[in-house]
Amino acid sequence: MNRRFLVGLLLLWSLGPLLWQLYTSFCSDQALTQPFASIDQRWTLIHYRNVLTANPPFWRYLVNSLLVGLSSTLLCLVLALPAAYALNRIPCQLSIMSRLALVGAALFPYVLLFLGLLEFARGLNLGNHLLALSFPYAALSQPLAILLLNNAFNDLPPELEDAAKLEGLTLFQRFRWILIPLISPATASTAILVFLFSWNEYPIALTWISDSSKLTLPVAMARIAGSSIYSVPYGAYAAATVLGSIPLVLLVLIFQKPIVSGLTSGAVKG
């Protein structure tokens, strides 16, 4: 088969649904019901205006998600970096066992944890605190982060750290001057993946947050859908989808390399 045809098909498959949302978001309500007919008043920006002037305005959710994403990523890295380093310094058997356990935890469908985490949030009164979401998020991305960073530490020549020890650098100084700078590519990959997870996470945000000004983007989107399947304001929704997708599309386009290397590094090394 012709390669150009296959690539075209692939792009249509991947981007078609998104482009349809983009198209919908500019259609007037009347045009929505007749997407292929010719109508005078087809194009409009009304949906974008509605979404951005709603109460709370749409950008609010973007800011919320951004805050949660950044704080989770930071917390996750602060915990995962030392742990990933220490994982190479414990007895070999124990290290292999821990890695297996981490792989298991990473495979685990985390949605099953929602009830336990909900009770936890109730017990500690963490519900409706946006930044409190960082704890479950950092914890849920911990297995992946530790495995990826551990791979990166494994790849460093051990003499670099040995030489630094002989120069009199303490553990903290070695982290500061040698380890952190040298594994920064892996750290960047990990950070982006954790950020993506936190940005996209739904079930836990759904159960922890109910205050409409504190919703994260995924929950806000689901809420727009409302309770009825039949009366979703699709135009407004499409506009929200487009606005909500732009940051992620940019993120993927800009950080394509670290994302790909992060996702594949675990698979290729072993």
């Binding site: 670099l160 040995d162 002989l166 120069e167 650098l169 001057w177 700078p181």
Partner: protein
């Protein structure tokens, strides 16, 4: 300043990596550790540096017992085989890091780095990254870093094995001058016996984690304590005859000479070595190696002899030297 190692051993699991090591290295003395790969040379260095933990025995540096002191607190200057330069820092920053964490003032650091760069002749390369340096330059930076540390002992772990043969020969006297000028004990690990003989005052031969002999290069060559050393030191390799009455007789190739009477041999092949030639001979006692002057014409069959004073005798079972 002396380094003393007493009955040193390291065990991983049930396996002893090195054991029963005894060695004393004096001020301004360079001792080479040689042995086949996996014999425990580098492990010994790592124990002295404090990078691995000691299972038994003691390390005494200038009368102080440092056996269990952490690496960060030992005054040890080490040059690694891979040089271990930080790839993200310039030459200057590489050298600066250790001084800075040891709390040396900025002005003094600047001055000391400049001096050391002058010494290793890298004044104009101070701002470049290690990746932009040649192998020999990298090695000199690694050496400069060890010198800047002003340590109580120098440990050089195959510092030349990543360089090509010619450069190695050129750098040898340079290295000796730079390090031995500091009047500190030096341990030099290498798998290259020529390098060891050229650079070291004494050589310690390691085999399966044990020191077999510590001696000057000449002693090691002329009075090897074990059959292993006799075979390991000296190229072309020593000739060993078949064991007789529980003893093995060995003779160096250059000790053999042609004679009218003696072992009748047939010439198999010859190798041209420049200043000499190496002959492979077939004798009733097995094949022999003989090295002789290149001017000599060799007939198809020859008679070979040697002085009995050039014979080395070893116990056939233990490999220990007899007499």
């Amino acid at each position: 300043m002396t380094l003393q190692i007493q009955n040193l051993g390291r065990r991983v699991g049930k396996q002893w990596i090195v054991r029963h090591l005894n060695l004393q290295v004096d001020n301004s003395e360079c001792v080479a550790l040689v042995g086949p790969s996996g014999c425990g040379k580098s492990s010994t260095l790592r124990l002295i540096a404090g990078l691995d933990s000691v299972s038994e025995g003691e390390i005494i540096l200038d009368q102080a017992n440092v056996t269990h002191a952490p690496a960060t607190q030992r005054a040890v200057g080490m040059v690694f085989q891979s040089y271990a330069l930080l790839p993200h820092l310039s030459v200057k920053a590489n050298l600066d890091l250790g001084l800075r964490v040891r709390g040396v003032r900025a002005s003094e650091r600047q001055q000391r780095i400049q001096a050391i760069l002058d010494l290793v002749q890298l004044q104009d390369r101070s701002e470049v990254l290690p990746a932009q340096l040649s192998g020999g330059q990298r090695q000199r930076v690694a050496l400069a870093r060890a010198l800047l540390r002003d340590p109580d002992v120098y440990l050089l772990d195959e510092p030349m094995s990543n360089l090509d043969a010619q450069l190695r020969e050129e750098l040898r006297p340079e290295l000796r001058r730079l390090v031995l000028d500091r009047h500190k004990p030096v341990i030099y690990v290498t798998h290259d016996q020529h390098e060891a003989m050229a650079i070291a005052d004494r050589i310690a031969v390691l085999h399966s984690g044990r020191i077999q002999q510590v001696a000057t290069p000449a002693d090691l060559y002329h009075r090897p304590e074990t059959l292993f050393i006799a075979k390991f030191i000296g190229r072309p390799q020593i000739n060993c005859f078949k064991p007789k009455d529980g003893a093995i007789c060995a003779v160096r190739p250059e000790s053999l000479f042609f004679a009218n009477e003696g072992l009748p041999c047939k010439l198999i092949s010859r190798e041209w070595l420049g200043s000499s030639q190496l002959l492979y001979l077939d004798s009733p006692h097995g094949s022999l190696r003989l090295s002789c002057s290149t001017t000599m014409e060799i007939p198809e069959t020859v008679h070979v002899s040697w002085h009995s004073s050039d014979e080395h005798h070893f116990d056939a079972t233990t490999g220990r030297r007899l007499t």
